[in-house]
Every structure is written in C-alpha cells, then in structure tokens.
C-alpha cells in the first residue's frame, strides 16, 4: 500500500513509452499486422474469433419464452443464413422496414423467441458477429430494390454529408476527404475506398472490445460531441445501409481486426 505513489510514475512511464513507440510507427497497417501476429502467437486464436465461437453457441441455444433458438428457424449453425449478411441492411416484410444486422437480430429475438429487453451487450454482439461470419468470403451485394431501401439509403447519404454539432464535422470530411490522415495518432479509415463494411463487426485491439457497425457509428458521433443515436435507431440503420452499399463488391471478412 505504501508503494501506491509509485503507480502514477509507472503508468506515466509506460504511457510515455507507448506514445513514443506509436509516434515512431509510420504505417498503421504494419502495427495492426504486428498486433495480430502477437495475439495469435500468444493465444493461438484471435479474440474476435473467440467471440464468434461464443456467438455460435448462443445461436444454437434456446432463449426467451418460446423455447426457441436462432437455429430453430435458421438451421443448425445457421446454415440458412449463409450469405445473408452480404445483402444487409435490407427491407424485411415482417418488420415492414429496413433493418441492419443488429436491428434484425433484436427483432427476431423479441418476436419469434420471446426474449424481453434485448440489450446490445457482449452476448448480443457475439451472435451478430457469428451471423456475419456466415457470409465470409462472399461479395458484399446490397441492393436498393425496395422503395424503403432507397429512402433509407438517401437518409444515410444525407447523414454522411451533414456537417453537424459543435465541431462542424460530417462523416465525409473525416472518412472521404481526410481518410488516411491522422487525428492525433489515430489514422482515419477510408470508409468507401477500403469498403470497410466488409470487416465489421470487428475486434478492436486498442481497447479490447468487440464492436458492431452500430457501435462504430455511435463512437464516431460521440467523438465529434454529438449525442449518439440510440442502438437500433433509424440513423444507425441508414448509415449502415449507406456504407454497406458503398462497400459493394468487397469480400466479406469478419470479424475484422482493427485498432
């Protein structure tokens, strides 16, 4: 207990060294590669894949009041969901609205399995990640055939370019115009060019968390000091749809591994 005063010193030193090491790293892609190799060497598996496996278990497990599992409708290990994520977000007849991965899973759990108060927690995200992995290796192929899909895409596009909040930012200024540049030491993703929707949900090694695209969108808004849209809301669906459509043609590889 007496040595507690040392703690800030040690933390400061570690922080300083990390910061220095980060500043020396010219290529962020190299850093990601290095982190990935390190984790694989230490654990033999990437944390994102562990979550996806956990998601598989949850997928096959009955939940809620109906005694059903996701697998009851979508087949053992989701065999009827192969390729589903490649066409998401999309319009669903039973919902009469456009849903992204997260909103669709929530709807299914509530309506068909009788799960109450679906939370966007790690179990939920694991299921979402698992469902996304069922489309790995396929091409992102989001269509805008339904009028509601077109309308939602248009809303997403408006949000993408809207300069908002105290910081006057839009998604576009950071992720189109300045994609590849750095905010502090964080490199901004080139969202359209790199077709980022193909590798979300993703595991973020910088804070050891599994994030779906909804978390990513909310995180961005939080950083530009705009109150994030709630989970499963029109804004997260609209932006997910916009980005997924712009990622068409990219090969799906989830869970992603990002900084």
């Amino acid at each position: 207990m007496r040595k507690l005063w040392l703690l800030p010193l040690v933390l400061g030193a570690v922080g300083g060294v990390t910061l220095y090491a980060l500043a020396q790293q010219e290529n962020p892609a190299e850093e990601v590669k290095r982190q990935k190799e390190m984790l694989l060497k230490e654990m033999g598996i990437l944390p994102g894949d562990v979550y996806a496996e956990q998601g598989r278990d949850m997928f096959n497990k009955p939940m809620g009041t109906q005694g059903k599992s996701c697998a009851s409708c979508h087949g053992q290990d989701g065999r009827y969901l192969r390729g589903a994520y490649a066409h998401m977000p999309r319009y669903y007849k039973d919902m009469d609205s456009v849903a992204d991965l997260d909103s669709r899973i929530k709807y299914c759990m509530e309506k068909y399995m009788g799960v109450k108060d679906v939370k966007h927690d790690i179990n939920f995200k694991s299921i979402a990640t698992y469902v996304a992995t069922l489309s790995n290796g396929m091409k992102m192929d989001v269509k805008l055939d339904n009028p509601k899909e077109k309308e939602m895409y248009q809303k997403g596009r408006e949000l993408w370019y809207a300069r908002v909040g105290k910081m006057d930012f839009s998604c576009a200024v950071c992720h189109d115009t300045f994609g590849g540049y750095r905010i502090r030491l964080q490199t901004l993703a080139k969202v359209k060019e790199d077709k980022v929707s193909t590798h979300w949900p993703a595991y973020r090694f910088s804070n050891d968390q599994l994030w779906t695209m909804e978390d990513r969108i909310r995180g961005c808004y939080n950083q530009i000091r705009v109150t994030p849209p709630p989970h499963f809301s029109w804004a997260t669906v609209a932006l997910s749809l916009y980005m997924a459509y712009e990622s068409n043609g990219g090969i799906i590889e989830t869970p992603g591994f990002v900084r």
């Binding site: 500043a23 908002v164 910081m167 006057d168 750095r182 905010i183 502090r184 809301s233 804004a235």
Partner: protein, 187 residues
C-alpha cells in the same frame, strides 16, 4: 512532476468515490438541483444534428459552396466573429499552451503539430511550427480560430468561437501561444 500529482490526485478521487456513495447526505443536497441538471443535459441525436445556415450550405459531396456564393458566405461568417471586451487579440501564451493541448478545449493537436515536444499530433491541418515567424497578422490568426469558415468555406477546422468551445479571451491566449517568440512553437 506536476503531471504525476494530477494523476495521483485523480486516483485518490477514484478511490474515494465508492466511500462517498455509501454515505449519502440527502439533507444537504436539494433534490431539484441535480434533477434539473440532468434534464438540461439530455440532448437527443435529433437535437444535435440540427444545422445552422452555414452547416446546411456545407453539407454536400463537394464539401464547399459554389464559386458565386463564396463572397456572401464569407460575409455571413465574418459577421459571427466577436472580439474580446478589452480589444486585446493577444493574451497569455502560457494559458494558450494549456488550451491548445486540452482535448476538452482547443484540442488543436488533434490536427496540427506545433511544439516539437508534442509527439502525438495529427497531420490534417498544416504544421504550425515557427508560426510566429511567418508574418501572419494577429487579427487573421484570431479570426481564423474564431471562425475558420470566414477564410476557407466549409473548412474541416471547427469554428471554435462560433460554437463557444473557446471564449474570445481563450482564443486570444492561443493567438499568443502561436505568435509569442517565447512560446515553444517559435523556439
């Protein structure tokens, strides 16, 4: 060393937090006050994405306004600029240094490099090293920080003064940090 004391201080605060929770003092705190505060803070996403005129004009894939509108746009944005009550556009560079790096205030290092000792600086904005030797007018520097859109339509640089992120006095302090020969920016 000062930094470590601050860190230590915050640790102490964290350590004390649970202890405070166990002993609430309901008699001393009028209930209406914290409630009112929460109500005040509860913005929604829809509230926050409401745009002002300038933001509306800038929300397009081109990321700027059309050439024939530029002049009017500049005039509108210039009108939003306010100056410190004492008229001094150059404040205290040491205060400016704090504001420049504080992520909750200027957060200028997110995009600009200035003091060579600061390694964690972004590369979106121009490097401000030796800014004071570049013959910039202090009025220009002040206005640029207060409202960058008065010089570059729809610039990515946020309008610190327009949105009250920085007060006129605070902007003057940052102007001093950039211009003063004593400032590490110009050393």
């Amino acid at each position: 060393m000062k930094k470590y004391f601050v860190l230590l201080g915050s640790l102490v605060v964290f350590a004390c937090a649970p202890a405070q929770k166990e002993k609430p003092k309901p008699a001393e705190v009028p209930k209406s006050v914290p409630q009112a505060k929460v109500e005040e803070k509860r913005h929604t996403f829809e509230d926050d994405i409401k745009q002002d005129e300038g933001q509306k004009l800038c929300s397009n894939p081109q990321g700027t306004v059309s050439a024939d509108m530029v002049e009017k746009f500049f005039q509108e944005q210039k009108r939003l600029i306010k100056y410190p009550p004492d008229g001094k556009l150059v404040g205290d560079w040491k205060k400016g240094e704090q504001l420049f790096s504080n992520p909750r205030k200027g957060n200028c290092y997110a995009c600009h490099c200035a003091d060579p000792k600061e390694l964690a600086c972004g590369n979106i904005g121009p490097v401000l090293r030796h800014y004071g030797q570049r013959q910039h007018d202090v009025k220009y520097t002040y206005e640029k920080i207060y409202n960058s859109w008065a010089y570059v339509p729809c610039s990515i640089m946020y309008r610190a003064g327009v949105h009250d992120i920085l007060t006129p006095q605070e902007i003057a302090d940052i102007v001093a940090y950039l211009h003063s020969p004593e400032s590490p920016v110009n050393k």
